[in-house]
């Protein structure tokens, strides 16, 4: 089954509405906001969207959901605040929601908010997200805290090494927010291409991936919707929660025509 561009946007629109409870108006770019708990994600969210937001629950779940709108250079962006998670791999409801939204909702870009005073641990989630999508902007928040603790970060180096835009911010006093919006704009409109650094696994795992990939790619649906390497890794993990999600979304996809 080959997809046209029309199919793809029909799919996304439908998945967004039915499964994630998100409706967009006209040409609106959907931006996911991900990050560990306590990194100031909500501060970033509130600073960007102000009063143009509404909160509720994710459909069918008791987890909070916040969506808000901001404009930048005459384009409209719908920011979706994902639950704070340490990774996308565990089976808690929050991680499922974040993972499903990024994998199947296919937002136009994902901002990963990380804590400048705790970079190493925070990058765990960033690397996972970078395995799923290349439309990533890393927002290094709490740089005011880092300054107080005399932590110095080489942002240019970090950006070079990660292969995606790295934007320092102190959301609570508005620092860096304009640059963040600019980076998101450039990624979404493909004025800037990224090459997210991929984690190399052990030889065993890399070999197993190379065996699986050629078998996954011909399954057009999977390849179009889910990053094939990510899918291979989750199959190797026997990630049953993810496999359930795949079935759900692929069926939705099949029923579009």
């Amino acid at each position: 089954m080959n997809l046209t561009i029309g199919d793809r946007s029909k799919y996304r629109g439908r998945v967004m509405r039915e499964h994630f409870g998100i409706s967009t108006t006209g040409e609106q770019y959907i931006i996911a906001l991900a990050g560990n708990p306590n990194v100031g994600k909500s501060t970033v969210f509130n600073a960007l969207t102000g009063l143009r937001q509404h909160t509720g629950n994710w459909p069918g779940k008791t987890v909070d959901n916040a969506q808000g709108i901001y404009s930048y250079r005459k384009k409209s962006f719908l920011l979706v605040d994902l639950p704070g998670t340490y990774s996308l791999l565990a089976n808690s409801v929050e991680e499922e929601i974040a993972r499903d939204f990024i994998c199947f909702g296919k937002p136009n870009a994902t901002i990963v908010v990380v804590d400048a005073t705790s970079l190493e641990r925070n990058l765990n989630l960033a690397f996972q997200i970078m395995e799923i999508t290349d439309k990533v902007v890393i927002c290094v928040n709490l740089i005011d805290e880092a300054r107080k603790k005399k932590i110095k970060i080489q942002f240019d180096e970090l950006e070079k090494k990660l292969g995606v835009p790295v934007i320092p911010t102190a959301a609570r006093n508005g620092e860096g927010l304009e640059e963040l919006q600019k980076a998101v704009y450039e990624i979404v409109l493909e004025k800037r291409l990224t090459q997210p650094k991929q984690i190399a696994y052990s030889q065993e795992v890399e070999e197993a991936i190379s065996v699986l990939m050629p078998q996954i790619k011909p399954l057009n649906i999977a390849a179009e919707v889910i990053n094939p390497k990510w899918l291979a890794l989750r199959l190797l993990d026997s990630d049953s929660s993810f496999i359930e999600s795949i079935n759900r979304f692929v069926n939705m996809y099949k029923n579009i025509k």
Binding site: A90, S92, S118, E120
Partner: protein
Amino acid sequence: MTSLSMPLSSLKLGEKSNVVYLDVKGLLRRRILDLGIVPGTVLTCVGKAPTGDPIAYLVRGTVIALRSEDASLIFVKQS
């Protein structure tokens, strides 16, 4: 190597250790891994509540708190 390891919970205040293995499965294992605690990681005990629970550890530049029950499932070698 297992004979030289001890549960993290018995590490004393100020002592440093290296993680040897995690004797835990499921969601808790995933949580511990996500906090950056994997074999080889350096863990330092930096605080103990008066009751002995929870315990604060320095790991990869951040301080985290673990229940002593959970810390007893992480096996380390003192460094």
